[in-house]
């Protein structure tokens, strides 16, 4: 897909970015349409508060359990696959089975964490998309996707007003 139609401003500092964000908010742009991009996490600013909640820890725990169960059965089945002569002792060696189970539990947790991360952040995504190199030079990008042509001018003004050094319009009709 081509870059989406969007208007955005590039702000030099988090403070100005914050203003721009609030301005759009006040202009009644629905938060879901507002986009923010920065080269560092500005946890303490309102504009980066969005999308905070995530069930990732629980998913990871679930993955751990899955891995553990897998580990246990791997250990168990491999021992039953070649039943050695244990001289009356149980065929399944408890401690080693425990160790394998443990290691695979942790592995499961780790892997699910990564997968969840990639899935929830829609990474990897190499397709061309809304982005501006200025971001990685310290600018903070605040903008709106698919603004109604009515709002367009106002958004532009508000972004400028908030202190955007540059306002750009990408993709779509212009």
């Amino acid at each position: 897909m081509a870059t989406p139609y969007a208007i955005y401003g590039l702000f030099p500092t988090p403070e100005t970015a914050e203003r721009g964000f609030n301005a759009l908010d006040r202009a009644g742009v629905s938060p879901s349409r507002i986009i923010v991009m920065a080269s560092e996490p500005f946890d303490e600013y309102a504009f980066s508060k969005m999308d905070h909640a995530t069930p990732m820890p629980y998913i990871a725990a679930l993955g751990g359990i899955v891995g553990g169960v897998g580990g246990f059965f791997l250990a168990r089945l491999t021992q039953e696959a070649y039943p050695i002569i244990t001289g009356g002792m149980p065929l399944l060696a408890a401690w080693p089975t425990g160790i394998v189970t443990y290691e695979l539990t942790m592995l499961g947790a780790v892997i699910t964490t990564i997968v969840t991360l990639l899935v929830t952040t829609k990474l990897p995504n190499w397709k061309s998309k809304l982005y501006d190199h200025e971001v990685s030079h310290g600018k903070i990008l605040i903008g709106v996707i698919e603004p109604s042509s009515a709002m367009r001018a106002e958004i532009e003004n508000r972004l400028r007003g908030a202190g955007a050094v540059k306002v750009k319009i990408t993709g779509g009709q212009s």
Binding site: R19, E40, D51, H52, L104, I111, T121
Partner: protein, 449 residues
């Protein structure tokens, strides 16, 4: 450093990645030379047979397993330390974590090769992997070597991802600065990172979970390495203290390696403004604690053996006290305790140079410790008739030297690929602590409408 703007930071930290100095090329060439020599030595061993090593009856494990334990131990530098510091949210960690995690990944990869290098028939190493084979036989779960396989496996995967995840934003930075093929490569590596709040939040959560997961994994890894020995009824091996003893030793050598690496990076990559005395100071204190802890473990182990006075164990004990291996033993005590403790305990010695020096001796001492755990016991088993001795050959020495050079080489190459200090984390560290919401006054609003 506070004087630096985010932009400068990015520039500084990326600078090492651009351009090659003659010195750098020379160093790489030398290291690569040694590594190649080691590879040849290994090839020769595979071709001629393990007999070209110094191994013999009854000392069936020597340099190779020493190196194995040493490198696995070293790998505890990074992931464990950085994970602990992350959880503790120690702000001074920010410049340290990545060089630490890099050590982990490389040391672990190097260490993991030794169980294969030391095999009598290395071309069959894959028989250790649990897969449904044409031989209708799965590996023996009872063997500590299998536990090693699983533990190292898990540890390697987690620490590699632990290293890679926080790199993604930095890859994005590089992508936007580089051009040509580099842009393409880093574009790919950055997975199309844009830096939306969602991405930042997920990344941080993921890192948090990883940090929690990786600590017990690291502990388990070195416990299991210690069980390779403790599970065998060999004098002075068959001991319950081994697991914590090894883990402590691992962290000990890990921190030492980290300090050493940082000191070198600081010098050669001119990171004086980022790796500050305070970092060495703090890590130095940590090293001091570990040194004392290490000595405590050695003392406890020796005391129990001496007091127990078992006929089987005493020959091993005495050979390390004033027998064949006494020289090495006391050298080890020097390197791990007598030298580092004063340096690290006295504040005015706890300089960058001082800590680096202490770390250097510790690294040597810890290698010796592993050697002294393995060889004296094997050469003094229960039946005095079959006592033996052990001398390494050029093959083992070359391969061992090769791995040290490989470590340095990988590090140097890596320094050209990735900024060795996490740029975004450093920047994030600049502005005030999180969760203190700011109120931004908006004059323009006042006069609206």
């Amino acid at each position: 450093m506070a004087t630096k703007t985010p932009e400068q930071i990015t520039e500084d930290l990326m600078r090492p990645m651009w351009g090659l100095s003659g010195r750098y090329v020379l160093a790489v060439a030398f290291l690569a030379g040694v590594v190649v020599a080691a590879l040849c030595a290994f090839m020769w061993q595979v071709y001629a047979g393990l007999g070209v090593s110094g191994l013999r009856t009854p000392v069936f494990w020597g340099f190779y397993i020493t190196d194995f334990v040493f490198w696995i131990g070293l790998s505890h530098a990074g992931t464990l330390i950085s994970a602990i510091l992350r959880l503790a949210n120690a702000t001074w960690r920010r410049p340290v974590t990545r060089c630490a995690e890099v050590i982990t990944v490389f040391a672990l990869s190097i260490g993991a090769t030794f169980p294969i290098i030391h095999l009598g028939r290395p071309w069959l190493a894959f028989w250790l992997f649990p897969y449904p084979s044409e031989r209708g036989l799965w590996p023996n779960i009872r063997s500590p070597l299998l536990w090693d396989f699983f533990a190292i496996n898990t540890y390697l995967i987690s620490s590699v991802t632990f290293l890679l995840l926080p790199m993604i934003p930095d890859f994005a930075l590089i992508r936007d600065r580089a051009n040509g093929w580099k842009q393409k490569v880093y574009g790919a590596l950055s997975l199309g990172w844009t830096g939306t709040p969602r991405q930042w939040h997920r990344l941080e959560t993921a890192m948090h979970i990883m940090a929690i997961a990786v600590i017990p994994v690291a502990v388990s890894v070195h416990s299991i390495v210690s069980w390779d020995f403790a599970m065998a009824p060999v004098p002075m091996w068959h001991s319950t203290i081994f697991a914590p003893y090894f883990v402590a030793g691992a962290i000990f050598s890990g921190i030492a390696a980290l300090i050493l690496a940082m000191a070198l990076l600081r010098k050669f990559l001119h990171l004086e403004d980022y790796l500050l005395p305070i970092h060495f100071e703090n890590l130095g204190k940590l090293l001091l604690v570990m040194s004392l802890l290490w000595f405590y473990f050695v003392f406890a182990e020796r005391l129990t053996a001496w007091y127990g006075n078992e006929t089987g164990e005493m020959p091993v004990f005495w050979t390390t006290q004033h027998g064949t291996y006494a020289g090495l033993f006391w050298l080890m005590v020097f390197c791990n305790f007598l030298i580092p403790v004063p340096i690290l305990a006295i504040k005015k010695f706890r300089t960058i140079l001082g800590t680096a020096l202490a770390s250097f001796t510790v690294v040597i001492g810890m290698w010796l410790e592993r050697f002294l755990i393995i060889v004296p016991s094997l050469s003094h088993k229960y039946l005095t008739y079959s006592w033996g001795t052990y001398r390494p050959t050029w093959v083992e020495i070359t391969i061992t030297a090769g791995t040290f050079c490989a470590m340095a080489l990988l590090y140097m190459i890596f320094s050209k690929v990735v900024p060795l200090i996490s740029i975004w984390e450093l920047k994030a560290g600049l502005h005030a602590a999180p969760h203190t919401p700011r109120v931004v006054v908006e004059p323009s609003e006042a006069g609206a409408d």
